[in-house]
Symmetry: C2
Subunit: 467 residues, 2 copies
């Protein structure tokens, strides 16, 4: 996998020191260990240097010099990625946007905010809320991840069913190309068909086509009511009908539709301190949430909808949150995923997606193959059903050994057979690179390479990632 | 403007006849005159040939041959564009997707439909409705325009405030590159971060980077109630407050927010057969519509919202539609634009956008300059305010002559000064090409050219358009 790039490019460090303030460049032990890897945890290495720009102009200078020396550069945000996309190797320079964390005042007439790439998501959420808006983006790593990383990876998360992915929340952005050219515009306009929409090149390309330095985010109105329930359903067919009806009945206020298969429910409700909102064993569990704007009427409509589902046999049991504490209890089951590293340290985890009409078949195929290969192994399925997103945890008992490649083969075989995606929301990075062709055709990958060659002809930006 | 391409490429027609069924190629008088120009009406010419493929494979063969002969090709959909984007010149080959109009059965579990590029928008809307969904796209030309054209131009239209632009309604697409390579995937997944999202390259690039042959559209749930009102407001500041409050109060069901300046209201209510819903003269007029899912409660909430605005002085008069006939009466005022060619045959029209916090200043600057240049000339302003989209009609009395370039200069000067866009929803095509730099930087345009060169190295796709 590592390319044949020599471990140091002659003269690049000297040129950087010449052109930039000394405190923008760190070497060796001055580089914090957190820059040695990301949350993926793979293969920690101290990069050749760490660059800490304070402005787009400095990013431009840095890339211009690295380009001139064919020096590989890895852009880093909050380092919370799960596919090794921000991992810099010993011969690569890490470029962290952490000092560029300014958040402009919210434009309340247009409902937009302009932020620098290094702004932490949670700080942007707070700025939006203080101005009476909601930031559409929300992911578990909100306290550490940065907007630049969210954009570079087209982050998904908890509110996609309501507000879309990162891509859908970006109106404009500024990026620096490999050769230092600053492109993009801080567009605040919803409608702008003036030439190619370049921002989409940079969103989701994981720092391989340019380094995002600033962005204009579209904000959303705040809601005033929250309805939440934990439901038991006979199975996935019922869940799909419930999903469609919820979308129609809630008039666009559906904000979460988190499905959990019975094995997941049994596992998390068995963890210490966890609640068990519904007794018995059912075909499927669903955490549903809506955020509405009719404080007087929303609760009644929500309950009427659940009653209708109960009558129709689409749900078989329900627990409606009567308080924020109830809502938190329900979410704790979903968020127990964060404890899996402790309880299932050797698990294989997957972030994939399937068309809804192939979801049941996908789970069935994977489950049958895993059981056949490793009888009794743990298989947990859960996900954002409305977004096609399935998360899978497979853990083979220690006595049966580690089988990560075989487990991957089972999951990605189903992805390929059922027109799924090898990455739903985490991206490709380095970890899923070898599986990209499961979801993309040769012609598509060749076109991606053409774009990469056109915008980064020396291949200095995040080499050996995605492609 | 026309490049130095010779009027016929030796051998290209012979090669096309060799490789394709004869009825896929028309020449000279066999080419219907509707293919000589588009709704822009500029410069009618009979193209060198008209190609009528029946499949993506045939499109691929056609482009492969044209690429080999460096033969320029202009993709055509419904020919309803307003910037000359589908106009083919005498030395260019027109490639019409009209025979590729298949609409697959709607996937009701995922809420998606796969259609060929030549499907007429209205037919797609009807297919969606028959399956219990709504197609997010709607534009005036719905009975003639095609999905391929909608996607190539990132069409906007009447429902953008609710469902976004064409781009926001496309989940996957298939396109043919200049050399005949078929790329893209008919992705049905909301979440798919498996490599670069190539579809955004083709959406809105007006047939200059590839020819879209098929697409998967995301559909939306049907609503069950319509609330509509025609309002008078003191001015734009109030309208911005009303917009923000409507977005929050209506919980995502706001579906139209059409603003009309007083000169527009006076002009259209003076046309024969037109109604005048509100008496007196006011600072601004607003057609507002919401489509909700609470048949019992929506009307009451809508009226309560209007009462609140009246109390707050944000609106000064209101006429609430009591029937579909009332709603149609209100929309007739907005749609009177279609009659402008009759009543103002020599008018200059503009489709531009401005940040909301610069909209008032933009209208004021344009209006003052136009009045100073041509005292008493007609200036009509109206638009989809929530989308930043302003439409402008300026008509100089016949006695003062025609001044299209001077009028353009006034409007685009304001666009440049206030960070607007020279094209909000119609695209650049050939008509606005020379003004692209008003809205885009040199570096952006250079990057667009790099992309064009990478994907269409011989420049055969829609030459002299956009760039």
């Amino acid at each position: 996998m590592p390319s044949a790039i020599p471990p140091a490019r002659p003269g690049v460090l000297a040129a950087l020191f010449d052109a930039l303030p000394a405190d923008c460049i760190r070497l060796g032990a001055e580089i914090g260990v957190r820059h040695h890897t990301d949350w993926t945890g793979m293969d920690p290495q101290c990069p050749l240097a760490l660059l800490l720009p304070r402005s787009t102009e400095q990013v431009s200078t840095m890339l211009r010099i690295c380009h001139a020396h064919s020096q590989p550069v890895v852009a880093q945000g909050g380092l919370t990625g799960l596919v090794g996309g921000a991992h810099a190797r010993a011969h690569e320079i890490a470029l962290s946007l952490e000092r560029m964390d300014a958040i402009d005042p919210v434009d309340t007439s247009g409902g937009t905010v302009c932020v620098q790439a290094g702004a932490v998501l949670q700080a942007v959420q707070q700025a939006a809320e203080a101005a009476g808006f909601v930031c559409g983006l929300d992911i578990g790593a909100r306290g550490s991840c940065t907007i630049g990383g969210n954009i570079a990876t087209n982050a998904g998360g908890n509110r996609v069913i309501r507000y879309g992915m990162a891509r859908d929340n970006v109106l404009g952005l500024q990026a620096v190309l490999a050769d230092g050219t600053v492109v993009g515009s801080l567009n605040k306009l919803v409608k702008n068909n003036s030439g190619y929409d370049l921002k989409h090149l940079f969103i989701g390309s994981e720092g391989t086509l340019g380094v995002v330095t600033q962005a204009v985010l579209r904000l959303h109105p705040q809601s005033c009511s929250t309805q939440c329930a934990f439901l038991a359903l006979p199975g996935l067919d019922a869940a799909l009908q419930v999903l469609r009806d919820a979308r129609a009945s809630l008039g666009g206020t559906l904000s979460a539709f988190e499905v959990m298969w019975p094995s997941f429910y049994a596992f998390v409700t068995g963890l210490p301190g966890m609640d068990r909102p519904l007794a018995g064993t059912h075909g499927l569990y669903l955490l549903i949430e809506a955020n509405g704007s009719d404080a007087g009427g929303d609760a009644g409509r929500f309950e009427a909808m659940l009653s209708r589902w109960l009558e129709q046999g689409l749900i078989v049991d329900a627990c409606i949150a009567q308080s924020l504490a109830d809502t938190a209890r329900f979410w704790a089951l979903r968020d127990a995923v964060a404890e899996f590293p402790v309880h299932l340290p050797k698990r294989s985890t997957f972030d994939v997606s399937f068309p809804l009409d192939g979801m049941a078949q996908a789970v069935h195929a994977i489950d049958a193959e895993a059981e056949a290969a490793w009888p009794g192994c743990t298989r947990l399925y859960f996900g954002h059903l409305g977004d096609n997103n399935l998360h899978i945890v497979i853990d083979v008992p220690a006595t049966q050994g580690r089988h990560a490649p075989e487990i991957e083969a089972i999951v990605y075989r189903a992805v390929g057979a059922l027109q799924g995606a090898v990455s739903a929301e985490h991206g490709i990075g380095r970890k899923k690179r070898q599986h990209l062709s499961v979801s993309r055709t040769e012609a598509e990958i060749a076109t991606m390479r053409q774009l990469k060659a056109a915008l980064d002809p020396r291949g200095i930006l995040n080499p050996d990632k995605v492609l």
